[in-house]
Symmetry: C2
Subunit: 228 residues, 2 copies
């Protein structure tokens, strides 16, 4: 883990942390928008209220990331701007055609995202790490979504086949946008692969990380009753 003082002494590390908080903040803002849209699509009033509550929790996460960016002397809108295109394309390519697809997206798509950020948090200073882990907390979506998706599959098993394909597509799109971000944001990438004065992780560890991400993804698909 990096020493917190690196935020003051290592401009490349500082840029990487601002990138990390920026991508997370924009992710929370779009998560807010998307879960709010899921609330609007929900038929049941109690589901609506539950989803609206989850959306506002994502907004609180956004606020804590924004406040931290301000504390670090960064402009939050500028810190988020470089990640709009990747998020925009991911969401354009994975617009849910119904409520269930929205639910699977919130669970499977966001799940692989937060897993990835949790992995990254091993490479940053303690304060940044605590913030990243706190905004990656499950907000109660999981239990809610697992319940609703399993019930829908039980009612009509064909739904399971369609949603399994959908889950695979979500991960494919998420990976291709993650690759784009890695290619475009040098500072962020050096958190993993290291910089001039800072060692990164080795290729074997990156392999293990990808294996963990894949396993967790399969575990989530199974929890929903879907083939990964």
């Amino acid at each position: 883990m990096t020493d917190p003082s690196a935020l003051d002494t290592d401009p490349q590390y500082r840029a990487a942390v601002i990138d990390l908080l920026g991508v997370l903040a924009y992710g929370e803002l779009t998560a807010f928008e998307r879960i709010a849209a899921d609330a609007a699509m929900a038929d049941d009033i109690d589901d609506k209220a539950a989803l609206a509550g989850m959306a506002t929790a994502e907004y609180r996460h956004f606020l804590s990331l924004r406040d931290r960016l301000v504390e670090l002397g960064a402009d939050p809108a500028e810190a988020m701007a470089p990640f709009r295109r990747a998020y925009g394309e991911y969401h354009a390519q994975t617009a849910p055609s119904d409520w269930l697809e929205g639910m699977v997206k919130a669970y499977v798509g966001d799940g692989i995202g937060t897993d990835f950020y949790r992995e990254i948090s091993a490479y940053v200073d303690e304060d940044t790490r605590a913030l990243v882990l706190s905004v990656c907390d499950d907000l109660g979506q999981s239990a809610f979504i697992v319940d609703r998706v399993r019930a829908a599959i039980q009612e009509d098993p064909r739904v399971g086949g369609r949603l399994a394909l959908w889950g695979r597509r979500l991960v494919g799109e998420a990976l291709s946008q993650a690759q784009r971000v890695a290619a475009e944001r040098d500072a962020l990438s050096t958190l993993l692969v290291g910089g001039v004065d800072r060692p990164g992780t080795d290729l074997a560890e990156i392999g293990r990380m990808l294996a963990r991400l894949t396993e967790n993804h399969s575990r989530r698909m199974s929890a929903l009753g879907l083939a990964a």
Copy 2:
């Protein structure tokens, strides 16, 4: 103003208050959904964040109404259900075709709604009244929206003509849904017109109330730079 003990002793009054809290709660939930959709439509990241913050404030209003319904022994989902159709049709008939129409709707449409509920609050007990007034508070939308809409009209004056027509349509649709609710919900209507054991207001006062609603509407249109 009605005595709070009427909530225990007058079943018709109790039903009216539950209707009032139900229609307000469902209104807040749909306001949450709609302002969140406006946030998603916003181009500017700071606008997005500001609108997301307003949406979460609407959700907090929803929570306080829901908690009060539970306190009164009512089922919140049941209390809200009778108003879904009116809200659904209002929103279906007034789906904004762009972000500016969404902004005018949030200001002019919600404005006439909260004005109406504030008027109604004169006829209920003190506790209910305080709650109704608190959820009708302006959440900072007004200054934000006035600023954005005026800027858009300054940039392209033709926008003003289109939005003025839009504002008139919003009020027309809101009134026709309000009439439907009044016709369908006897208990709620008796708050204004009185019940068996409770005097209502007189026709002259209802006329003055309508005049106040109309004046406030015109004032809001002018604030946006629109002809009422």
